[in-house]
Each structure stands twice: as structure tokens, then as C-alpha cells.
């Protein structure tokens, strides 16, 4: 760095001496960093669009398509009885029964998001609770819980889901239960590790020396410090759950095939994609887009909450310009990292 560069850095401080330094909370700092992350912002906009699409599915299909479950062999298929390609009548074309693929894709978002969000919600509640208990009450309780978590994590979820579908029948509830009962283990493991790290911090000892009860320490002192890693993991668990749901539905072990869903559409399209590329392309594209934006947002959130993460360091090292962007003072240990510690 040359001398002139150094001077330009100093100058603004003299230029505005009246500027008051205002302290920012760890959340404000994280939000400031997230706002700088274009990928994360674009991803969250797309997520909001997909969410709105799912919520307003009836309106959208009313305007731009037809009833997603209505078979339409008269106008939905061409003279040879093959699906029609994208056109003004059918934006994304039709499937082998003449059903409007746009409408089915829009309704499919409902299933995917419902399963993704609900199963992650339950997995988070269960995972955080178990992780808190295992991490805080070390000793035999921790040993037992940790071994159980390892068993769950090493279980082939697909086989369990197939067996469950075969015995109790495929349904949305079954899919949510299966996904939640497998992904909670990942959450519990990470929370447990974080709790063990936080438990050793002096503020927990300070709370104990004040006579705080265990419940109070867990809820008031430890839980808020878990928020950052939990949020990051949630944004990564949602796309995982969506993919799992689609996989199960594709295999016929998931959501009822009569309900429009991306996995179900993919499953049916395998027989027709030679004559109707859009049939395969639309649901797989939606699936790809949804999981991609959730994952990208998750990465962005993790970077924002943990300024020391490797990705930021690498980016800051590449060019001087970006490094200044990230030079926000941060409180040591303010944001938990999912990876690393």
C-alpha cells in the first residue's frame, strides 16, 4: 500500500469530525453485512417471489392458467394426443393429460414449501431442545443423547421413508414426520457443540454465581447466543427438506401423486420428456431454483453472522476494495459459526 493510499484513508475522518460514533448491536452489524451481499439479497427476493406464488396460487392459475388437476384431452393435447408446448394458452405447456404445467408448478411450490418449512420447523424445535439438554447437562445424559444422534445420522432415511410409505401409506404428514425425525439430529449436534462452547464462557459462570436457575441460564443466557448458528442451519435445512420431499414423491413414497407437486411431475415426465421437454424442464428448474436460492441465502446469512468465516476472509484477501467493506468492528464471539468452532 502506497503512502497516497494511506492518506486518502485518513482524510474522511478529518472531513467530518462531528460524526458521532454510534454503537451497533451484533444484529445490526450482521444486517449491514448482509445488505452488502448482492447474491443473498437477490436470493431472498426470489424466495419471497416463490412464497407469494405459493400463497396466491389460486389467483395466479385463474389469471394465467387453468385448474391444475383438470385433465383436458380436448384442448390440452395436440392432434396426435401429445402434450402442447409453451404457448399463450398454456405458458409452460401441458402434460400427457392436457393439464396446465404452469398451474401445476405453481401449486407444486405449495407442497414443497409446506413440507420444507414445516419439517424444518419441527426439526428445529426438537433439535434445539435436545441439543440444549445434551450440551448443558454433560455426563451420561450427553453421552446417551450423542450416541442416539449418531445412530439417527447414520440411518438411511430413504429406506425408512420407503418402508413407512409401504406400511402406513404415502402422505404429506408422513413425509414431514420422516424428514423432521431425521434432520433434527443435525440441528441437535450443532446446538450441542455450541452450548458446550457457550457454557464455558464467563457470563454463564457469572449467572451461576448470581444464583440463576438452570432453566434461566438455558433460556436467558445460552439460547439467544444460539440464534445465529440456528438461523444459518435452518436456511440450509429447508432446501434439503424440499429435495428430500421431491425425491420421496418421485419414488412414489411421498406426497399423493394426485396432488400437484414437483417431485410427482418429475416422476410422470420421465415417460414423456422425449416429446415434451418442458414437462421435465419446468419442475426440475423450479426445484433447482428454490434449493439454490435457499442455499445461497444460507451462505450469505452465515457470512453476515460470522465475519471471520473463511469465505469472507478469502474475498477480502483478493481485492483491497472489498476488504474495506467488511472492516466493521465486531464483537469477539458475537456471532456463532456453524462451521469451524
Amino acid at each position: 500500500m502506497s503512502l497516497t493510499e494511506l492518506e486518502t484513508e485518513v482524510a474522511p475522518a478529518d472531513a467530518e469530525p462531528t460524526r458521532t460514533i454510534q454503537g451497533r448491536t451484533p444484529w445490526q452489524l450482521a444486517w449491514a453485512r448482509l445488505r452488502q451481499d448482492k447474491v443473498a439479497i437477490i436470493s431472498s427476493i426470489i424466495i419471497i417471489v416463490i412464497l407469494l406464488m405459493a400463497i396466491f396460487a389460486p389467483v395466479l392459475t385463474h389469471w394465467f392458467g387453468t385448474d391444475p388437476t383438470k385433465t383436458n384431452t380436448n384442448t390440452g393435447l395436440d392432434a396426435d394426443g401429445l402434450p402442447i408446448g409453451p404457448s399463450a394458452d398454456h405458458l409452460f405447456g401441458t402434460d400427457h393429460l392436457g393439464r396446465d404445467i404452469f398451474s401445476r408448478a405453481v401449486y407444486g411450490a405449495r407442497v414443497s414449501l409446506e413440507v420444507g418449512l414445516l419439517s424444518t420447523f419441527f426439526a428445529t424445535i426438537v433439535g434445539v431442545t435436545i441439543g440444549l439438554l445434551a450440551g448443558y447437562f454433560s455426563g451420561w445424559a450427553d453421552a446417551v443423547i450423542s450416541r442416539l444422534l449418531e445412530i439417527v445420522l447414520s440411518f438411511p432415511y430413504l429406506i425408512v421413508a420407503l418402508v413407512a410409505a409401504a406400511t402406513i401409506g404415502p402422505s404429506k404428514t408422513m413425509v414431514i414426520v420422516v424428514i423432521a425425525s431425521f434432520s433434527f439430529a443435525a440441528m441437535a449436534r450443532i446446538v450441542r457443540g455450541q452450548v458446550i462452547a457457550i457454557k464455558a464462557r464467563e457470563f454463564v459462570e457469572a449467572a451461576r454465581s448470581l444464583g440463576a436457575s438452570r432453566l434461566r441460564i438455558l433460556v436467558i443466557d445460552i439460547l439467544p447466543n444460539l440464534l445465529a448458528p440456528v438461523i444459518v442451519l435452518v436456511t440450509l435445512l429447508i432446501p434439503q427438506a424440499i429435495v428430500t420431499e421431491s425425491t420421496l414423491t418421485f419414488l412414489g413414497a411421498g406426497v399423493d401423486i394426485r396432488i400437484p407437486s414437483w417431485g410427482g411431475m418429475l416422476s410422470e415426465s420421465t415417460q414423456y420428456y422425449r416429446v415434451a421437454w418442458w414437462y421435465l424442464f419446468v419442475p426440475s428448474g423450479m426445484l433447482l431454483l428454490t434449493t439454490l436460492v435457499f442455499n445461497l441465502l444460507g451462505d450469505g446469512v452465515r457470512d453476515a453472522l460470522d465475519p471471520r468465516s473463511e469465505r469472507i476472509m478469502a474475498r477480502a484477501g483478493k481485492s483491497g476494495k472489498t476488504s474495506r467493506r467488511w472492516r466493521t468492528p465486531s464483537e469477539p464471539g458475537s456471532a456463532g459459526a456453524v462451521s469451524g468452532r
Binding site: 454503537g23 451497533r24 448491536t25 451484533p26 451420561w140 453421552a143 446417551v144 450416541r147 464462557r201 464467563e202 457470563f203 459462570e205 457469572a206 449467572a207 451461576r208 454465581s209 448470581l210 444464583g211 440463576a212 436457575s213 434461566r216 436467558i220 443466557d221 439467544p224 447466543n225 440464534l227 464483537e331 469477539p332 464471539g333 458475537s334
Partner: protein, 359 residues
Amino acid sequence: MSEPTAGGDVLVSIQDVYKHFPIKQGIIFQKEIARVHAVDGVSLDVTRGETLGIVGETGCGKSTLARCVTGLHPVTGGRIFFDGTDITGLRGSRMKAFRRDVQMIFQDPYGSLNPRRRVGSIIADPFVIHKIADGAERKRRVQELMELVGLNPEHYNRFPAEFSGGQRQRIGVARALALRPKLIVCDEPVSALDVSIQAQVINLLKDLQKELGLTYIFIAHDLSVVRHVSDRVAVMYLGKVAELSESETLYERPRHPYTNALLSAASIADPDRSEKRQRIVLSGDVPSPVNPPSGCRFHPRCPKAQERCVTEEPALVARHGDPDDHVAACHFPVEAGEQLTHERSTIEQQSTEPTLPSA
């Protein structure tokens, strides 16, 4: 067992306290393979209103002893009396009542405050936990405390990250004072702070002691800080008290060779004196507390060690020519004018490498 008293009534009486940490191995069925002898038979009395300094190297057990006194660690053996009650077996509501009387100030002002909570609610914690004040009354008392420790009460709603290290330590002090405790255990309260800030915090602690009649147990590894604040000083080495005395006597006439070495390593502001001073450089590292040396624990590193030191553990008693309250655990205490630097120990030096038993 010797129980030195410095007159006045005793607030805390630590009697032959042991604290061992087991080292365990195994996945589900853990078995103890060794123990860390963190505190190994310490007896100390703290008089009401005094400041007892505890010094020693890292790992000598001073922080562990502090945590035993505050009830954060259950003791392995021995008794601790606080205001006449044995606190080693307290549980439930009686433990909670005891916690009101004893508070702790922690070493790391960055670690001892929850980064996700506002300062006002951190300082209000003691009131909430002990259900003392509510609503506006609670807020008023928190702001009173903030003013007492020299913080701006307007900063009630800020996060710890918005304060400097010294200010954070003041927050820690305010939290410790909230319940008007009788005893405050300061675990290296200034060692994480800049030197200029150290003085501020120490003076604050001294002023508060005068104002509120507090008793301190003050732990530090900085000898000059301890000298400044303490009425009496205990020197700890490997879980045991090596020397205990009124602070001026200890600094003027240290009897234990370890105390001599510690004092010779402390920096002196006067360059003339500093030049004349002879430094005693101890050989080797502190032995592992897992497997402490026999006899006198200091013998592997002691320049005066002899055969007797290996076999026989020295008692903590007053030596000839010393005041009664100046006790040292040494068979061959250092005499005035003695030069320790040139002496070499006459016994075979034992390896001081920490050894863990292999399982």
C-alpha cells in the same frame, strides 16, 4: 493445619480445602484415570473488611480456589465457612441465599457479559433472580449502580459491545455490587485491561471497599497490583500456599524461595534499583498438577532444595524472627541478604515434564 488470623472477626475460613478434577476416559462408561490436583490442602482466613491477595503462576489453583469459595465448584475435601456457616454442602434455597452475600468479578470483561443482552438487563439480573426490585424501582436501582461505578446511566439500553474493556469491567463490578454482598471475589479483575485502565478499576474497587465496607479476595498474577490493593497476600504454588503474610512484610522480606523468585521477576519502575536487582531465573516449568512432586512441591525448581525437601513436606508456620502472621512453607527459608542467584540446587533435579498416565 495452621490457621493464621490477622485479628478482627473472620468472614471466610477456608479449612484444608482440596479440589481435584478427575481426568476421565471412555465413551459411555468413563473411568477416572488421573486427577488434576488444582487445590491441595489450602487453609486461609479472610477477615471482615480486609483484602486478601492471592498470587501465583497460571495453573497454581488460585482461580479454582476462588470458585470454591463462591460455591461455583464443589470442593473435593475440606470445609469453607462463610460467616460461620459451612458452605461446602449447601443446596437449593440456602445456596441461593449464600450467593447473595458472595459475588465475583471475572477476569475477562469480554467473556463475562452476555453479548446478546443489554447492559441494563445484565446489571438487573441479580434483582430479577433474587426477586428484589420490580419495574421502575429495578431500573432506578440499576441506574444508581451504574452511576456508582462511574458509568453513564443513560447507557442503560446499550449492548456490551458498545463499551470499552474498562467500562465493561465496571459493568461487571456493578453487577457484583447489586445485592450488596459481604464478600467479593475478584478473579484477576484487571489483567485483561490496559495499564492505564487497570489503575482506574483498582481505585474504583478500593473506593467501593471504603464506602460499602466490602471484603475482597483479590486474585492476580501481577505482583505490583496485589501489593497496591492487598492487606495480606498469599502466594500459591501448585495448589498449595507457599507463603502468607501481611503484604508489606511479604514484599520487603520474602522467606520462601519461590516468593523471592516471583518478586525478582516483577518489574520495578525505578531503573537504578532495577539494574542492581538480581533476577532469579527458575529452571524448568511448573510441574504437572496431575502428578505433583513429592515433599515440597517447589523442590524440583528450588535453588535451595536439599534431600529433606524431596521427602518431607514443609509446614506452613512462622519462622524464627518473623511476625506471627508471616508464615512460609519452607524447610530452608531465605535469610535477609542471601543471594539466591548463584546457588545451584544440590539435589538431582527431577524432570518437570507433565506426565499423563497412559491408559
